[in-house]
Structure formats: structure tokens, C-alpha cells
Amino acid sequence: MKRFYTCQGLILVMVVLALACKRPKGRTTIGISFETLQTEYWVASSDALKAACEENGLDYLEAIANGDANRQFEQVNNFISRGVDGIVIAPKDAHTVIPVIKAANRAEIPIVIYNRLPAPNKGSYTTIVADNYEITKQTVRYLGDLARASGKQYKAMILIGDLGDTNAVLRREGFNDAILEYEDVIDVVAEVPTEWNQEKALAGVTNALQANPDIGLIFSSSDFLFPSVISALKNAGKYHPIGHEGHVLLGGFDGDAMAYQLLRSNYLDADGVQNVYYECDLAIQAILDILNGKEVDSVLVDPGFVIHQENLEEMAPKMWGANLEVP
């Protein structure tokens, strides 16, 4: 008898738990999966996506995979079993996202890939991605124009991200192609691989400055590497504001809080900005459009913009890093 009551009790608990977990009917739920939240950019994106969901009256579930592609796949499968209406995923890389797309397609749930282009595959999905190549090219062109206008010859250095990351590769290509237009004034003497690691970036920049003490132009493929660049420049006695004779032309990519602060304090010449708010609105709108039976392009591009000393006041409100405080 005691066992019977125990069983009944357990069933009751399970029913209560099931009811508690069941989401209210009628509300559309979006599953948001991030590979990591380990940079300001991802945190800002996650916040902006949640804000976009709230603005559109949507519920959301969130999962972070901490850099583990398998875990991300499992998390998306959990979203599918919980019956979400759409999925937004910032994937680990271009290839591991393919099984995730297939799983979402099998369940007939619209899926939006955020910020990283998947490798070619036959799945049905929409990708929201910043034009890494073009934004970098425009940023470097701005630096090139400054170099040419100065009438001096420049030696340049680029900090490259993880070469397994499509965005890092496209930024490098954008840099190299832009530099080709300024071959008469700019000579690239150092390509520093950082694997998106600040310690490696610091060592790399220090070594490159040791080999070429007259480097006068530095482009960082991500703003979050700026602390390493600044530390190395300070140690080499080359950290000077714009206008100083020894100023090193400095460019970056992302649009984070530190880049904004450096622009304001006259140390950064130009920064390529990914428009996080625009990208997140596009992602949520794409899912809503698909759910409403509308056709959505397979790739939606954020053209981004270049922020520099001349358009700082005008463009700062659109720069996501300008809305964050530097701790």
C-alpha cells in the first residue's frame, strides 16, 4: 500500500512539473543558441536579440554552448523537442552548424544563422551576417587615405583572428585587397596570427615591433585585441594620440566600448562597425516572415559602417559599443 501511495505521489509531482514546464499557448517562442558569450560582441548580440523578441511580443529560450559544437547541437535538439517556433543560432563554426540546420529542417522549424556563414549545404536557412570583407576594406581604405595624405611611407601590421573562423579570413582578405590600392605608400611587413587570444596578440605585436620598429599602421581584426596592441605600443614608446608626430595609424573592427573610448580619446583613427541592433532585428523579423509564409532571402547582409574622427558624432549613436560603459 505504501508503495502505491509513493507511486501516486511521484505521478502527481511529474504531472505538476510537466504542467509547470508547458509554455502558454498562443505565444511564439524563439530558441536562441550562442556558441559562447565570451566577448562583448556576443553579449551585446544576445541582449539585442532578447530585446527584439520582447519588442515583438515573443517568448524566448536561451542556451550557451561554451564553445562546444556537440553541446550546441544537443541544445538545439532540446529546443526542437520543446516545440519552439523558430531558432536563431550563432554557431561555433561554418561546418558544425550543418547538422543543426538539418535537424531544424526535419522538424520544419525556421532557422536563422547569426553572424557566421555556414559552409555550402542543401539545407533551408537564412543567414544574417555583417559584410566582414567590405567593412574591413572600407576601414583600411580610410587608413590608406590618411597615409597617402600624410605624404609619408608606411610599414603596416595586421592582427589576424582564428584562421578557422570565416569572419577572420574575410577580414584578412578585405585588408589585403584594400592595401593593394595603396602599395605606393603602404608595405605590409607583419601578419600576426592571434587565434583571438590577447596574450598571443601581445607577444605577436611586441615581436613585430621588434623586427620592424618603424611600423606606422596597425589594423586589428577585432577591437577586443586593442589592449594587447596598446600595451605593446606603450612598451615600444609608440603610443601617441592623433596629431602627434609619432602617432601610429590605428584601425579595428567590431565597434565595441573600448574602440569607442579610443576614438573619443583621439587614439583610434577608424573602426569598422557591425550593426548589432540592425542584425538582431533582421534575425527576428526573418523568423516572423517565414512563419507568416513570406519569402526570405537566404543571406541578409548587414553593410555595417566605418566610424572615424570625422563622422564620430554622427555615427556614435549607431555604434553598439557607444552604449556600453568601459568597466
Binding site: Q198, E199, K200, G204
Partner: protein
């Protein structure tokens, strides 16, 4: 003649890392004359300081046939907490003390879980890896912390013209070398690494030795982290990621066995660290193709581990045949 040839080969296999180190210096020196400058040698040493301190702690753990995957997270957590403290106006010495305490606490936690719960070090330190990183991300709100100028004095300061990180590195290496070679504790570490059961039967407290090595490793991780952030001037959410693998690679390149009981801090681990840093430095100096970096680093690790494996096989064979 054959005897001389044999002993020559023996010498080469015994000193493979040192030879590779010499070859790397010669090669990069030929390709880029700036590589051989005095200033660049100091650069390599400064850049090797954090990894060297980290790898020294890791060597103690590896000598007991253990592993510590939490060192990168300890670096990160210690960096975040000390960074926040300094930004909020706490004095540097106070932040430094907290860093050391965090390292010691994590070391104690690892050791206690390993010998109390009898869980293998890989699993325990994998768990503390997540604890450390998770706590650090939670405290920092996944935001980079930019440190005040005062924090940079440790990273860029000099005593008698020698950079402070280099002095710290050599202090830690010397102390570790003395502990391993001149103390009973050091001898017991090797004994536990060779065979923990035999060590226990010989009256050695294995638990005490494990506690000691993990506490030393935690302390070195925190100190290494402090040296690294003092050079960077910022703590980002990715700080310390994969540092554990670099530390393990450096120790193994220096001849420390993953199976315990064999290896040393000086010259072993130090040479391993310098070899890694020299290759990284040299590749930038000669402006090598960025795609070559991981391939060259992997090739060096394969080469050294391959030579070590051959040496082991020869040793085992000699043992079986009853030869010295």
C-alpha cells in the same frame, strides 16, 4: 667507432629539445638578423614569464602522473577578481594577496577532491576548470576589465635593467628546482609519480604529496595570471583559455613524462617554454605565413615526443635485457 656513434646518438636523443632550441635560434637568426638582438632575447624571456611560471606548477603535477586542466581558469578568475578590486580602488598589494589565496584555494580544492573522492585528476580539474571560468564570467559580466596604469608596473617594471617578469620567472624556476632536487618533499614527488603504491608502502603520505603539488600548481597559475595581466593591462573573457595546454606542451617538450616520475623544471621545463616562445617569436620576426604557425608548432611537438618515445622504448628494452 660504433661505440662513439652509439653514444653520439644517445646524446642527441637525450638532449633533443636543447638541440631543437639551438637549431631554431640559428635558423631564425639567419632569416632575420634582428632576431639575434639582445633586446629580442629579453622579449622572448618576458613573453615566456607567465607561461614559464604556469608550466613550472604543471611540472609538479605531471611528475605525480596527474594533470591540472584548471590552471587557465584560475588565471582568469584571479585576474577578474584582482582587476575588479584594483578598478574599485583597492591597493595593489591587497589584490596581489587575493590572487595568491585564490590560487592556493583552487589547488586545495583539486587535491581534496582527488584524494578524498578518489576521482581521477582529469575529471576533477575539468570540473574546477568550469567552476573557475563560470565564476569569472559571472563576476565580470562577460565584459573586459581595463586595468589602471599602476597594474602595469609589474609587467613593465625593471630591477637593475632586468624586467620584473623575468626576475619572477627565474625566482620561481630556481625555487622549484631546489624543492625538487634538494628536499625530501621533492624526492617523494618522484617516488609517488613512479609508483604510488610502492611509495605508500615505503611510508610516504601520498595524500600530502598530492595536496602539495596541486597547491603549488594553483599558486603558480595565479602568479602566472598576475604576470600576464600586468603585461596586457586588461582581462578579457577569453583570458587564460587553453593556457593549460600550452603549459602541458611546454613541460612535455622539456622532457617531463605524462606518466609521472620523470622530468625536471631546470633545465627541462624552462627549455620547453623557451622553445615554444622562440618559435612563436621567430615566426613573427620572419613574417611567416600565418597558416604555418600551428603546423610548425605541431611538428616540433611531434618531433620531440617521437624522440622521447624512441628513447623510452630503448630504455624498456635495456631493462628487459637486464642492461643498465
Amino acid at each position: 667507432m660504433k661505440q662513439i656513434q652509439h653514444s653520439g646518438l644517445q646524446w642527441v636523443s637525450n638532449n633533443s629539445t636543447l638541440l631543437l632550441f639551438a637549431v631554431a635560434i640559428a635558423l631564425f637568426g639567419i632569416l632575420s638578423p634582428a632576431f639575434l638582438s639582445f633586446q629580442n632575447a629579453f622579449n622572448i624571456l618576458v613573453q615566456a614569464a607567465a607561461l614559464g611560471i604556469l608550466a613550472t606548477g604543471m611540472t609538479f603535477v605531471l611528475l605525480t602522473a596527474g594533470i591540472d586542466l584548471s590552471v587557465g581558469s584560475i588565471m582568469f578568475l584571479a585576474g577578474v577578481i584582482s582587476g575588479k578590486m584594483v578598478v574599485d580602488g583597492a591597493p595593489l598589494w591587497w589584490a596581489g594577496l587575493v590572487v595568491v589565496v585564490i590560487g592556493l584555494e583552487f589547488g586545495c580544492l583539486n587535491a581534496l577532491l582527488i584524494y578524498r573522492l578518489k576521482v581521477i585528476p582529469f575529471i576533477v580539474t575539468l570540473a574546477t576548470f568550469y567552476v573557475g571560468r563560470g565564476l569569472g564570467l559571472f563576476i565580470s559580466d562577460t565584459r573586459a576589465i581595463n586595468l589602471p596604469e599602476s597594474f602595469l608596473t609589474l609587467g613593465s617594471g625593471k630591477v637593475l635593467g632586468i624586467p620584473l617578469p623575468v626576475i619572477l620567472l627565474f625566482f620561481v624556476i630556481t625555487l622549484a628546482h631546489l624543492v625538487l632536487t634538494r628536499t625530501t618533499f621533492g624526492k617523494h614527488i618522484y617516488a609517488v609519480g613512479h609508483d604510488p603504491e610502492k611509495a605508500r608502502k615505503a611510508g610516504i603520505s601520498v595524500n600530502r604529496i598530492l595536496l602539495g603539488v596541486y597547491v603549488i600548481c594553483g599558486f603558480c597559475a595565479a602568479l602566472g595570471g598576475l604576470v600576464a595581466i600586468a603585461q596586457l593591462g586588461a582581462v578579457s573573457p577569453t583570458f587564460g583559455l587553453q593556457s593549460e595546454f600550452m603549459a602541458i606542451a611546454a613541460a612535455i617538450l622539456g622532457g617531463v613524462s605524462l606518466f609521472g616520475g620523470r622530468g625536471n623544471v631546470f633545465p627541462g621545463t624552462l627549455i620547453g617554454v623557451l622553445l615554444i616562445q622562440t618559435i612563436q617569436n621567430g615566426l613573427v620576426m620572419v613574417n611567416a605565413d600565418p597558416y604555418l604557425y600551428p603546423l610548425i608548432t605541431a611538428a616540433v611537438i611531434f618531433l620531440v615526443v617521437g624522440i622521447d618515445s624512441l628513447q623510452n622504448q630503448r630504455r624498456e628494452k635495456a631493462k628487459r635485457l637486464g642492461l643498465k
